[in-house]
Symmetry: C2
């Protein structure tokens, strides 16, 4: 059983492309948000109940739209729909826009995949470097197929989560696949300020990503050279190297 | 300048306790959500504008309530209110409930601190192992004061983020402070199922945390022995050990 989810919502072209790839590998279940959930990170819905509705969007494939976040979708898929029966692979995306570098932290697409990985399920998040709703997912679908095929054959070894980002363009423009580290970077934020119809001031988040990493083996570097970036990722944020520094705080 | 935020909302007793500690160390700015935002993880608000309202809740201290997530609060504090002037320390909490182990991923409290750390700001999230709104924050306030004092003196060395969890009880019941690793664990989920007033089925998330880690130096272990756990944490999810495994995927 392959679980497919995303954060752009169940009607986004990116998830349709991924479902068409997934169905080549076996039985597929789709559980995805009923509205765009970009930037939801690892949010879960605890203050209110969730709705789940079966929809017919993908021929011959069971699909549900969910009122919650991408992480909620994975929890509902596993616990309610599949009643904890086996999920062989969870794939999330194809996201409309990059989730390279620190964007893994903000991304609902990657958090959904990470949630499945926390349950021991091999999980991959796919993102295309094109924010347009009408983006062309042909090449990214082909790349997703290559990677899923490799993972189903080889497994995922010491990690359970891959962050895959795919350059824009035709398949022939993509130079290859590189295994990378997560680049250091930051968002330089600006807020669009305005006044609402009631005369109250508002702030609307916008900004520009800035790579702060010159190393040759980062995801940002690979993407800049038209390679697909694959970052083996985890969920443990502990920094072991910091232990000696804090030793005098211990008592 | 010390920035104080949380995820339980600006009127939660936990943030009041933390503000009272923070004011002993210098100038304080409070920017916190106008409603409970537990479980919001690293969510940001991009689909709609944010509101920011100055409130008088803490005598002599500038405070703003924000309509967004904990991460939004940090972005607005830094970019709009402080216009990128220096923040010496960001402290988040005191959270009503544990953020040990993988709960760092779901926690708005920890994500707010992590967001500040991404900007190079030394950041600490504090959580008390008591979910009650009326929890007693006296001992946890004292612990927060000790740790803030240490960090202001020594800095934070090779990391910018600490995940601090504090056992319930009196200060004299707390045996000490331990620097720990993030325990491996999982949530065993159950969904409360019901039918809403319109006859539609709903699912409400609930569950039980299960520690899957027997090591002696984890946060869960320290807390179980009535020690404060301090986990030096990062934001880079890359798993370097996985590189050789995926080498044949590279091409």
């Amino acid at each position: 059983m392959i679980l497919v989810t995303n954060d752009d919502g169940i009607v986004a072209p990116g998830i349709k492309a991924l479902v068409e790839v997934a169905r080549k590998f076996g039985e597929v279940l789709v559980v995805a948000p009923d509205s765009p959930q970009s930037g939801q990170g690892h949010a879960i819905t605890i203050q209110q109940p969730l709705k789940l509705r079966e929809v017919e969007l993908f021929e011959g494939i069971r699909a549900f739209e969910c009122s919650g976040t991408p992480v909620d979708c994975v929890k509902l898929a596993k616990n309610v729909i599949l009643k904890n029966s086996q999920i062989d692979l969870c794939i999330s995306g194809i996201n409309h826009g990059s989730n390279a570098s620190i964007n893994i932290l903000y991304s609902g697409t990657m958090s959904a995949a990470m949630e499945a990985s926390l349950e021991g399920i091999n999980s991959i998040g796919f993102s295309l470097l094109d924010y347009n709703f009408g983006a062309d997912f042909e090449a990214s679908g082909m790349v997703a197929e290559e990677i899923i095929s490799w993972v189903l054959e080889h497994g995922m070894g010491p990690t359970k989560l891959l962050n895959v980002n795919i350059p824009k363009g035709k398949r022939s423009d993509i130079r290859g696949i590189r295994i990378c580290r997560q680049a250091e970077g930051r968002w330089v934020e600006e807020f669009q300020e305005g006044t609402d119809p009631r005369g109250e001031k508002y702030y609307w988040l916008t900004g520009k990503f800035e790579c702060l990493d010159e190393r040759a083996d980062t995801d940002i570097k690979a993407l800049s050279e038209n390679y697909v970036s694959v970052v083996p990722s985890g969920h443990n944020l502990f920094v072991a190297e910091a232990l000696p520094f804090f030793s005098t705080l211990e008592k």
